[in-house]
Symmetry: C2
Subunit: 430 residues, 2 copies
């Protein structure tokens, strides 16, 4: 097929008619397909069904160190859950705190605490006359940006590179502006690009010399073990160890969960941090809660046990996820490569494919998809304030639909990409 | 036995020696008993063991309205859990939001949100030059006071009466001072006195005309169904309905949980509020979390079902709790009534007996108990800033120890009460 950029206006008009015809066929099918959220599929949830049986009316409900997990107590979690989660992210277990089912709510809570109480005795962020600021590598995770937006924290876009965030820019902001208090990171198989931060990037983070004493890296290691392949797996340096080495042990909070290991809605989550940070965190926890759900911690610790148990489970997930990613990428290659109207990254893990359309086309593509019954993450979502400066990035989330549905959804998607691009080209030349 | 107030110095000295002798006997027993926290006993936790079986690898995990409870979604909870909790507190289910295992953390979160974002558009509490204020009926729940203390909210003591908080004083503060933003209430079988607010008290609350538009009643209905007796049960007016009637529908947040119905550490919690409040609460939830643990909601809804299921379960709890309360009250009567050196309230429900020693004696009593291996809630705990102005209130929590241990603990306690009182009387007269 001829590249769109090389087509005459007449050829483009003909292509447009052809695409409208193809699109109408799908309109008639009354589709209801969803590629909008990183939700695991039923088949993935089924993988952990048996976890529901490991704690029952006949089993002992005591933790290793003798706590009755049904009762109050152990605000920072039970040892075996700390060990299992520590194993998952390669962090010493005594630097782990175990929470409830949502790491997002832990991050929310950390921002909240810093707003009202500061960090290790610093001035509470809500007490500044100006808004404090967070750096936001883009494209990124919409729910991170929603938290900082909710609290009126100014967000600054940092472009992503194939190695992670543009560290020169990060360094410039962090080291010059004391109002820059944090940065949102998804360092492994990033949301939505699937990029893993290089060793140089991690070391550059660890060696930052922040202007603000209470600057913190929010290291959301959500996809730490979420590989798609057995042979091609990314490795991520341990940020806690690197910060320690660099003499900045307190500069990072790491977050993680089993949401995409066991159950998205009923997993356990955790954070890891320096001992000094942990003291502050535990003090606040003692005010906020008596204990998180230790029975669910027990379920997870007994079911996943350790790194090996987690690895096995993630291999099962990969077997379900890989064909979906393959399908998405193949479809993009087949339909769009020759046209040279879009770019995308082939990730080795995580939950998303980041698709970059011709500037000014993302909103229209998603609108066309929606009208044909294919739900996509809204345009702009991966950017602070929902504003994609180029209107070009689209997050494709292939996990939820079964393969057959995904195939149809991707057919619709690629047609919509082409149609929106042709429209754009025609409007430009008019 | 002669009243202490009628004893001569010599008689008191003799009694002191006698008490020291009795106390030493218990010292030799190396006791390790705990009457410090309102933790359910093992026997009570065992009552709900079978709840762990109602959701397993073989059961369907979908909610009534078709949500897969293992996955993300339904931020405000599943319908059947709303219905069950609504049934528990007699509130329409569509006014209920279901949370995780801790109602305390919900209250913390509500205070936090108001600090940073205000209430329904009001000025955020953290933006005032002066500290905002909460009213604190005393004695009250130490963990409530810890939250307001943590956020630097000034706390004002409001004396409790047999009908609930002194409503004249409440009215005076709430209606004259726009910095008064809230009041902590445990309206039924209050912690620690076991007092249930009278109908007049509830109506007086509902008819307050606050100086602050963002004043809220924090109505912690923790012991709503926690009766000790079949025949003598307190009734509490529905504050939501009363506020609605009085034209103040938004003035109250009600909190509740199954912590002392099923598992203290692995229950579900909820809040109920006006539709206007719910909108604000849900908006914030959407920022904070994708969903709470719906599998645990499903367990609870399927296991407890409705009011009747809850009633049956609470009857089983009462059969375990009643003998413990009887023992405590009998022991206090036997050992202390004649001496006229203390007061206490005989509660019809809840988790505590509030004991009022002679002024200036509580700290010493608890110290003596501690030395003899009987752990009590620290003196001052039921008061803001841990300051009991009279140093007289002691919270007795009889739920955790088995009956036999409780008997010993109460023997030690009553000896310590007598000994501390005699010491006080002797020191006064010196």
């Amino acid at each position: 097929m001829k590249k769109y950029s090389e087509m005459t206006r007449d050829e483009l008009r003909k292509e447009e008619k052809n695409l409208e015809y193809q699109y109408e066929k799908y309109m008639l099918m009354n589709l209801k397909l969803d590629m909008s959220r990183g939700k695991p599929s039923k088949a993935q949830l089924d993988l952990s069904s048996e976890m529901l049986d490991v704690v029952n009316s006949k089993t002992d409900c005591h933790s290793e160190h003798g706590a009755d997990c049904r009762n109050y107590g152990d605000v920072a979690g039970i040892d075996e859950a700390k060990k299992m989660l520590g194993d998952m992210v390669d962090v010493p277990w005594d630097q782990v705190i175990v929470y409830g089912n949502s790491s997002l709510s832990v991050m929310y809570d950390f921002v909240c605490r810093s707003m009202l109480k500061g960090v290790l005795g610093s001035k509470p962020w809500c007490k500044y006359d100006e808004n404090v600021k967070f750096l936001c590598p883009v494209p990124g995770y919409d729910r991170h940006f929603a938290i900082t937006e909710y609290f009126g924290i100014d967000m600054i876009n940092i472009p992503m590179t194939p190695e992670g965030p543009d560290m020169e820019l990060v360094k410039k902001y962090v080291e010059s502006d004391p109002l820059v208090k944090g940065i949102w990171c998804v360092p492994k198989y990033s949301n939505p690009q699937g990029i893993t931060y290089s060793d140089d990037t991690v070391r550059a983070f660890a060696n930052l010399k922040p202007a603000a004493e209470d600057f913190r890296i929010y290291w959301d290691n959500a996809y730490c073990v979420h590989h798609l392949y057995d042979d091609k797996q990314d490795e991520l340096l341990d940020i806690l160890a690197e910060c320690e080495k660099a003499g900045n042990p307190d500069m990072v909070y790491e977050f993680f969960s089993t949401s995409k290991v066991t159950f998205a809605g009923a997993g356990i989550s955790g954070c890891a941090a320096s001992y000094t940070n942990l003291d502050e965190i535990r003090h606040q926890m003692g005010i906020k809660i008596i204990s998180y759900d230790k029975l669910n911690m027990l379920r997870h610790a007994r079911y996943l046990v350790n790194q090996e148990g987690i690895r096995k489970k993630m291999k099962q997930h990969a077997e379900i996820m890989r064909p979906k990613f393959d399908l998405v990428l193949n479809k993009l290659n087949e339909e769009l490569s020759d046209l040279e109207i879009a770019n995308w990254i082939e990730p080795r893990g995580g939950y998303f494919v980041a698709f970059e359309a011709m500037p000014g086309c993302a909103t229209r593509i998603i609108e066309l998809c929606g009208q044909a019954g294919v739900k996509m993450t809204p345009a702009g979502a991966p950017f602070p304030y929902h504003k994609d400066p180029e209107d070009s990035v689209i997050r494709i989330a292939p996990s939820l639909p079964p393969l057959e549905e995904l195939k149809t959804a991707m057919e619709v998607f690629t047609i919509c990409v082409k149609r929106a691009t042709v429209e754009k080209l025609l409007s430009k030349e008019a």
